[in-house]
């Protein structure tokens, strides 16, 4: 995989349609411009939820290109790309399903806590219980899916806001993570693998926590997490734009009553979306444990907001019904670039947060204005 080709705009997903009569159908209003004047095309572009994120990602990339303060101008090298892409990957694997869930009209605040807790399950099963790593991976995924099922069932059956339900779940996981690790590991806040060999560890590591495409320019290679990110993004784009389920996601978030009346299984759709976020959190936990061979009890805490920021920056409407999986992935890239760019620019890393705050505000403002315009404009 050629590194630079992937920079900023991943042409594989929702870029301009390369071939065929029809584009990715990424947004609910998305579609083939099919001719018409430039103004018409412009309105069509504005209507695409990922449009703002694409412009934003390019802008952020250019800003850090200009402020790059490293001796060899690392920003434009494979090293630079690898550095921000691997951060973006961790955000993006979550941002895409979180974005889908947001389009479906719900929040999941338990995601950050879930990533950490999943890593701890891996560490306990592999390190303490000496399970085969693959069996541990399977159990962790099953646990992730089960958590989403419970979250989804509670939200859809009780009618309580998902914000509260998943916030409660978040605190449960956080308590379990910290308390559980302390108890198992006698006062330490992390669980690492001891020197003994662990069955299945090497092959599982190759798939989830390894690296690829080593070269003289980049001895460490790219992390496989980046491939998982691309895979999750493609899956999200496809599901949202090209499946019945994707149509239902827009519908349950846009108007759940209308969706129910047309026969959309509203509860099932939402439950599956919750299962998507929690399973993705399990994936992140698996990847991070297999990469580092350690699980830290406070891992992932607070990250749920980055995922939500990425989704919102990517054009997902907080109130549901509108958004883009590709946009959420772009949002994750923006966050990854911001974290790495601040370092390369030689700024203090505390500026990360200020930068994110500004980006978030700008993105939401631009998205809201363009979206309103596009909704008003008749083509």
């Amino acid at each position: 995989m050629a590194g630079e080709d992937l920079a900023v705009a991943r042409p594989d997903a929702a870029g301009p349609p390369a071939a065929g009569s029809d584009p990715s159908g990424d947004g609910p209003g998305g579609g083939d411009p099919g001719g018409g004047g430039p103004a018409r095309l412009f309105v069509k572009a504005l209507r695409r939820p990922a449009f703002g994120a694409l412009v934003g990602a390019i802008a952020v990339f250019v800003v850090f290109l200009a402020t790059d303060n490293t001796p060899n101008h690392l920003w434009l090298t494979q090293t630079g790309f690898q550095a921000w892409a691997q951060q973006a990957a961790f955000f993006g694997i979550m941002a895409v399903p979180v974005g889908l869930l947001m389009i479906g009209g719900e929040f999941d605040l338990s995601t950050g806590g879930m990533t950490g807790f999943s890593a701890i399950i891996m560490a306990l099963l592999v390190g303490t219980e000496h399970w085969n790593a693959w069996a541990a991976v399977a159990v962790t995924f099953a646990f992730g899916a089960a958590v989403g099922l419970v979250n989804g069932l509670v939200v859809t059956r009780s009618g309580l806001p998902s914000f509260i339900v998943t916030l409660a779940a978040y605190f449960v996981f956080r308590g379990l993570s910290v308390g559980g690790v302390l108890k198992v590991n006698h006062g330490s806040t992390s669980i690492g693998l001891t020197g003994t060999r662990h069955p299945g560890m090497d092959s599982a590591r190759d798939v989830f926590g390894g690296s690829f495409a080593h070269s003289s320019a980049l001895p460490a290679g790219y992390q496989t997490a980046i491939l998982w990110f691309v895979g999750v993004t493609l899956l999200g784009v496809w599901v949202l734009g090209r499946t019945r389920f994707g149509n239902w996601v827009f519908a349950v978030g846009g108007d759940a009553d209308a969706a129910r009346r047309t026969g959309v299984p509203v509860r099932r759709t939402k439950i599956l979306l919750f299962m998507g976020t929690s399973t993705a959190a399990a994936l992140v936990g698996v990847i991070s444990f297999l990469q580092t061979r350690t699980a830290v009890s406070e891992q992932g805490v607070g990250y749920e907001f980055y995922y939500i920021i990425a989704a919102v920056v990517g054009g997902c409407l907080l109130t549901g019904g509108h958004g883009s999986a590709f946009g959420a992935a772009l949002g994750a890239c923006i966050i990854g670039m911001a974290f790495q760019g601040v370092i390369y620019s030689g700024w203090d890393s505390s500026w990360n947060f200020t930068f994110l705050g500004v980006i978030l505000f700008l993105a939401v403002a631009v998205n809201t204005v363009t979206h309103r315009r596009a909704m008003r404009a008749r083509t």
Partner: protein, 313 residues
Amino acid sequence: MTATGSAAAEAADVSGDPRTPLLAAEAVGKYFGSVRALHDVSLSVRAGQVMCVLGDNGAGKSTLIKILSGVFPPDAGQVRVNGEAVRFHSPRDARAAGIATVFQDLAMVPLMAVWRNFFLGSEPTKGWGPWRRFDVPAAREQTRAALAAMGVEVRDPDQPAGTLSGGERQSVAIARAVHFGARVLILDEPTSALGVKQAGAVLRRVAQARERGLGVVFITHNPHHAHPVGDRFVVLNRGRLLGDYPKAEVTRPELVRLMSGGAELDALSHELERIPGTGLEPESGAEPPPAPAAAGQTRDEPRPRADPPPPGA
């Protein structure tokens, strides 16, 4: 998926007597707790017929629609489709039997493109197993064709449904029901929030559906909209049926009188006539029609305006 369901319904229909009502309610009743919402209501609709259900707010129209469209079953009496007693457990069952309901709030998602809305819940798919996918090109093409066939002009099927006018949205919803092989169309107050011109467009779609041999149940509180397009009229008042009239036997003013419960209206006219003397004149004057801007936005039925028909109506 739905295609097979409606095909089966059609097949069953062909074998029957064409004079058998497509959809009939027989002495249906419904209670909500101790409140009797509907009592002993019967009506039927045949192919190529528009059955108008008239009634003021709270007359039981919504309850009746919900029974006919499968939202809930009646507590008394029964519903028949093609002469056979049925018990719907969900709107899905009703739809499978060829009964499509266009609800007042249209079951359309404003942020979604027209073509995505058109196939919502019944998306055409192609492929197999994990490659089974929403057939987007087919959905777009069929939306265009179905709208054109019903004479609905939507400039761009990609535009979000929320940017359509209220009349356009109603028309799209009707075209959608017809496209999915509905034999009976139940329309819930399709013209209530619309201006005169848009209401006219919707009434044209109703006539078009009738020409295609559908049975239409047209629920409204507006006799002026019902009378031109209806073939039969039933009037509901406080959960009871006041009467069932073929078009030949009832005039528009009579409908208006029936609807508001004859004597009550007379009393109201008397009351209003006295008002000029009391200095309340400006209030009793003609109230402006609902602003078109509110079209499609209001979920409530328009307020029961004290607008007895102008004498000339």
